[in-house]
Amino acid sequence: MLVAKEETFDPLAPLFKFDTVDDVIKQANDTEFGLAAYFYGRDISLVYKVAEALEYGMVGVNTGLISTEVAPFGGIKSSGLGREGSKFGIEEYLEMKYICMSV
């Protein structure tokens, strides 16, 4: 189904029913993209495991809004390279130079 594979980028909201945690993790990760993911749940073990299992650069847990200048924004897989914002964001515009001095 196109809407499950492609980036929609419009106000269409498809709902899919799932049964098990393993199933939904598999479906959620079955994409070339890896930018943002969101989930709602309350069991703390489940929450931690799902947050780790999602192959995304950013995960919102019990929130639908994750963008802020203080956190690293960016994705993995075909969603890109590097991070913007946060203390990490400035590194994208810096070179590291190592200086070895004999005294």
Binding site: L2, D10, L15, F73
Partner: protein
């Protein structure tokens, strides 16, 4: 569009501290996507003007990077303050050229400014390292230096924030930058340039070039002077740019497409999940890279969630983003309308049912 400060609306590009037209004099008309009304014209620039902006950025680099971090920080701070002072005008300009509701545009201006505030502060915290020597007479240090001349290619969905998220860290680090904004949303970018100018950011440090996307993009990618490219947009274009930047081994930041899953487990707070899904799905009419693309709901709460979510969706007000109470503004163009219809038709053909909506409005 009636601005409090009409001098924020520029129909020329900002290169090397000056407002300039295309060498050819050619311009392109920019229309409001909600009403199709003409907003104004911007220059159709190409390789030569882009090259001039790169040359200016290179010329400005030594003095800009030689400033103390605090001096750069103060100029960025001033830029941040000016953006906030003119937030109403910037928001109206953004809604007029992009379509998002005014309240969202106002939110984006604050968000855009926040990157400048943040990196004005971070400019002073670019720390290096010392390493214990490997021999008794050796002293090892690691310093951080600006990459140099950088370029940014930015999208239409966040006309202000995607520019400041790149320009603020670049300028804070001591880099200079040439920006090519999205063809659909040049006026917000040019207004940011006007405010950078007023903030005292020197000529050539931040330039904005509008026009022929391919010619400008090629010039930025091919230039050996440009040491880094930051792009936000589609994965297909990101791959193309990466290929084009390979011969000059540019550093790259690529913020590309998403396909965000939104998962609701049986033990979730369903009301909170509905509220979160509304934000994650419908921000900017679904036109953001982090928008919920696929909503997965566990069997035990599927009916309950669907019912509440559909009720919330049915309450959304669709219209011209400039009008009061509108939650969903215009999509950016007819191609976007056609895409949503093709995705919907495909899903229905494969067994999906439409719970609410399902038709274009106007």
């Amino acid at each position: 569009m009636i601005l409090n400060d009409p001098s924020l609306l520029h129909e020329q590009c900002y290169i090397d501290g000056l407002w300039v037209s295309a060498n050819s004099g050619e311009t392109v008309a920019i229309a409001n996507p909600a009403t199709q009304e003409l907003i104004g014209h911007v220059p159709v620039m190409g390789a030569a003007e882009t090259q001039a902006a790169i040359t200016a950025a290179n010329k400005a680099l030594p003095a800009w990077r030689a400033l103390s971090a605090k001096e750069r920080s103060q100029k960025l701070r001033r830029w941040f303050e000016l953006i906030n002072q003119h937030a109403d005008d910037l928001a109206l300009m953004m809604t007029t050229e992009q379509g998002k509701p005014l309240a969202e545009a106002r939110g984006e201006v604050t968000y855009a400014a926040s990157f400048i505030e943040w990196f004005a502060e971070e400019a002073k915290r670019i720390y290096g390292d010392t390493i214990p020597g490997h021999q008794a007479d050796k002293r090892l240090t690691v310093i951080k230096q600006p990459v140099g001349v950088t370029a940014a290619i930015t999208p239409w969905n966040f006309p202000a924030a995607m520019i400041t998220r790149k320009a603020a860290p670049a300028l804070a680090a001591g880099c200079t930058m040439v920006v090519k904004p999205a063809p659909q949303t040049p006026f917000t970018a040019l207004a940011l340039a006007e405010l950078a100018h007023r903030a005292g950011i020197p000529a050539g440090v931040f330039s904005v070039v509008t026009g022929d996307a391919i010619a400008i993009g090629n010039t930025l990618c091919d230039s050996p002077i440009v040491r880094k490219l930051s792009f936000t947009g589609s994965t297909a274009v990101g791959i193309k740019l990466m290929e084009q930047c390979a011969p000059t081994l540019k550093k790259l930041s690529l913020e590309l497409g998403g396909n965000a899953p939104f998962i609701v487990f049986d033990d979730a707070d369903i009301d909170a999940a509905v509220e979160g899904a509304m934000i994650a799905k419908y921000r900017n009419a679904g036109q953001t890279c982090v928008c919920a693309n696929r909503i997965y709901v566990q069997a035990g709460v599927y009916e309950q969630f669907t019912q509440k979510f559909a009720a919330a969706v049915a309450k959304l007000s669709v219209g011209n983003g400039a009008d009061d109470g509108v939650n969903i503004g215009s999509l950016i163009n007819q191609d976007a309308v056609a895409k949503v219809q093709s995705h919907l038709a495909d899903a229905v053909a494969k067994g999906a049912s439409v719970v609410t909506g399902g038709k274009p409005i106007a």
